[in-house]
């Protein structure tokens, strides 16, 4: 599994790390299943390594001549915003409410550290 530019196998540890980056709480079964399925998919898409892409520019936008799209600096208020805030999963006095955030994402990191053991 080692060697070559890319190691296509995705280990369960990597799966857990990627799941954390994507904020998905996978079950143990999903961790195993995705480890296998992602490895298969990556093995398949690795066929792109066959090609020589030296000097080829990437195509991030297919409309190659479209650039410099702007709008003027004008204010327009949106009349129905009241209903949007009211429809939030949890709100308090016009503010969106979420469980307590500790400074600088500390709880997220420590929670992850706890999970990883």
């Amino acid at each position: 599994m080692n060697g070559g530019i890319l190691d296509m196998a995705v280990s369960p540890e990597e799966v857990r790390h990627v799941a954390w980056l994507a904020r998905l709480r996978l079950t143990a079964h999903e961790e195993r299943l995705f480890s296998e399925q992602l490895s298969n998919i990556l093995a398949h898409v690795a066929k792109l390594q066959e090609l020589d892409v030296e000097g080829i520019e990437p195509t991030f936008h297919v409309l190659k001549t479209l650039s410099n799209v702007y709008r003027p600096d004008e204010v327009r208020s949106w009349p129905e915003l009241r209903e949007v805030v009211q429809a939030a999963p949890q709100q308090r006095d016009g503010l969106f409410a979420v469980p307590r955030v500790l400074p600088e994402g500390e709880d997220e990191v420590s929670a992850k550290n706890e999970k990883d053991g």
């Binding site: 650039s67 600096d73 004008e74 949106w78 503010l95 969106f96 469980p99």
Partner: protein, 484 residues
């Protein structure tokens, strides 16, 4: 130890641009509105919404880059910076990564009488996030998205600053330059200017940077300076004890005046940057950029030079006045109405700044027209009031908003400059205080001060001091001659 070690500081500054509407949607950018009243599906990250760039934000960013002597890119684009946080609706921030708007600039600033230069690594555009508040009662975090989507530029310096004082001086000049360029109000209290610092120590002469600490939560220039001073001490102590420093993020605790660890930099997010597919790239026409450069207002250093040349102000005075755009505008407008620059500059540096500093106000918050100061100074020239009365009138005029002339009339503060009336008072005082008079005539010059005081007392402070002194001296002198 101190001399063998060098302090290395770099700054990351976020500046809110002065546009009417947000960077990618038409919501207002006004500060201070009730929460979530300046939002729409776009800045709230609703499904299906898309960003469109505010041209004015781009213009102001280019202006800022030019004012900081940067090279503006011909080709620039936006990228997505992906991470999860409640103040970030889309789960990514639209920012710039590998093709920023501008690079390789510099800013010259004065510190302790010397000129120093710090290089600007890059200036790029990005969108601001919302604001978090903590509800102590429910234990929840509450989010206001009014600020989300306000256009920002991020200004990153090279680690060229060598002391906390330099860092502060740099920030003060940066603020002045950006205010002058009319790019931002730069008000740290309102959050339109934010600053993080990276600081490390290294052996003098070394080229690597040393292990750095990133300092956040700096709410004022004073906090910046104090936090960096604390860090220099902390890192020095650690090195002296032979401890290994770790790459970390620390926050300034204003209450305890210390920095505290927030998270280690190793745990920093993997932002998974990739080019923003919803926005097309920008190719900036050099002619358009030149036009912006030509339309740049006079910057602080230029204005300072001009104040010295045109008004004959000494460098120090000029430097103090141009530090704030508002103050410099105030000075010039006042001189337009009252063409005695040195007097005006003394008043601006003295009374005006004194007033602002004692109340913790910024020059932008000064509620006093330059014409009013001119009016006040003319009254002193005309002898209507004395200088010390003028100082009181100034304080009153700024607090109440009334015109100096109105106040003087209202309170009957006009000087007594009637020679006849004043001479009568002088004679009275001389009669009533023979002892000090004798002292004076015997050579005790200080007695004059006492007699002046009596004249002022009798006239309730309104005597024109110069006239009163002259009359007093004349009266005492004539009598003096008569003594054998």
């Amino acid at each position: 130890m101190a001399d063998a070690v060098e302090v290395v500081i770099g700054l990351e500054v976020h500046v809110e641009l002065k546009t009417e509407s947000k960077i990618f949607c038409a919501c207002s950018t006004r500060f201070g509105s009730p929460p979530n009243t300046q939002v729409c599906p776009i800045c709230l990250g609703h499904p299906g919404t898309l960003p469109v760039l505010n041209l004015k934000a781009l213009e102001l960013a280019v202006r800022a880059a030019l004012a900081l002597n940067c090279k503006v890119a011909r080709y620039t684009k936006f990228d997505r910076k992906n991470y999860f946080y409640p103040d970030l609706p889309k789960g990514y921030q639209i920012s710039q990564y590998d093709a920023p708007l501008a690079e390789h600039g510099w800013l010259e600033f004065r510190v302790d009488g010397r000129m120093r230069t710090a290089r600007i690594r890059r200036v790029h555009l990005e969108e601001d996030a919302g604001k978090l508040m903590h509800d102590e009662v429910t234990g929840e975090t509450l989010v206001d998205f009014n600020r989300c989507g306000v256009p920002l530029i991020e200004v990153v310096t090279e680690p060229d600053l060598r002391s906390p004082r330099e860092a502060r001086a740099f920030m003060e000049e940066l603020r002045a330059v950006l205010q002058y360029a009319e790019v931002s109000d730069c008000r740290m209290q309102e959050g339109s200017l934010r600053c993080d610092a990276n600081i490390s120590l290294r052996p003098r002469g070394a080229t690597d940077l040393g292990t750095k600490a990133e300092i956040k939560n700096l709410n004022s220039f004073r906090a910046l300076e104090k936090a960096l001073e604390y860090e220099v001490a902390r890192q020095t102590r650690a090195l002296e004890r032979g401890e290994r420093l770790v790459l970390e993020t620390r926050g300034w605790d204003e209450g305890r005046q210390v920095t505290v660890p927030l998270r280690t930099k190793e745990e920093a997010h993997d932002y998974r940057y990739f080019p923003e597919p919803d926005l097309v790239p920008m190719t900036l026409d050099p002619e358009w950029v030149e036009q912006i450069r030509r339309s740049l207002p006079e910057l602080p250093s230029q204005r300072m030079a001009r104040f010295q040349a045109e008004y004959g102000l000494p460098a120090y005075d000029a430097g103090v006045i141009v530090a704030s755009r508002r103050l410099a505008d105030f000075f010039e407008e006042c001189v337009r109405h009252y063409p005695h620059p040195k007097t005006v500059s003394n008043w601006v540096m003295g009374q005006v700044l004194g007033y602002l500093n004692s109340r913790g106000l910024e020059p932008e918050e000064l509620n006093f027209e330059p014409e009013r100061l001119a009016e006040l100074l003319r009254m002193v020239d005309e002898g209507v009031i004395s200088v010390s009365v003028a100082r009181e009138v100034f304080e009153e005029a700024v607090s109440t908003g009334k015109s100096p002339r109105a106040l003087v009339e209202e309170k009957g503060l006009e000087q007594l400059s009637d020679t006849g009336a004043l001479a009568a008072v002088v004679r009275q005082v001389i009669e009533e205080h023979p002892s000090p008079v004798r002292d004076y005539r015997r050579g005790k010059v200080k007695a004059l001060g006492f007699l002046m005081g009596q004249v002022m007392k009798k006239t309730a402070g309104k005597a024109n001091p110069q006239l009163a002194r002259r009359l007093l001296e004349e009266a005492l002198a004539t009598e003096r001659e008569e003594t054998p």
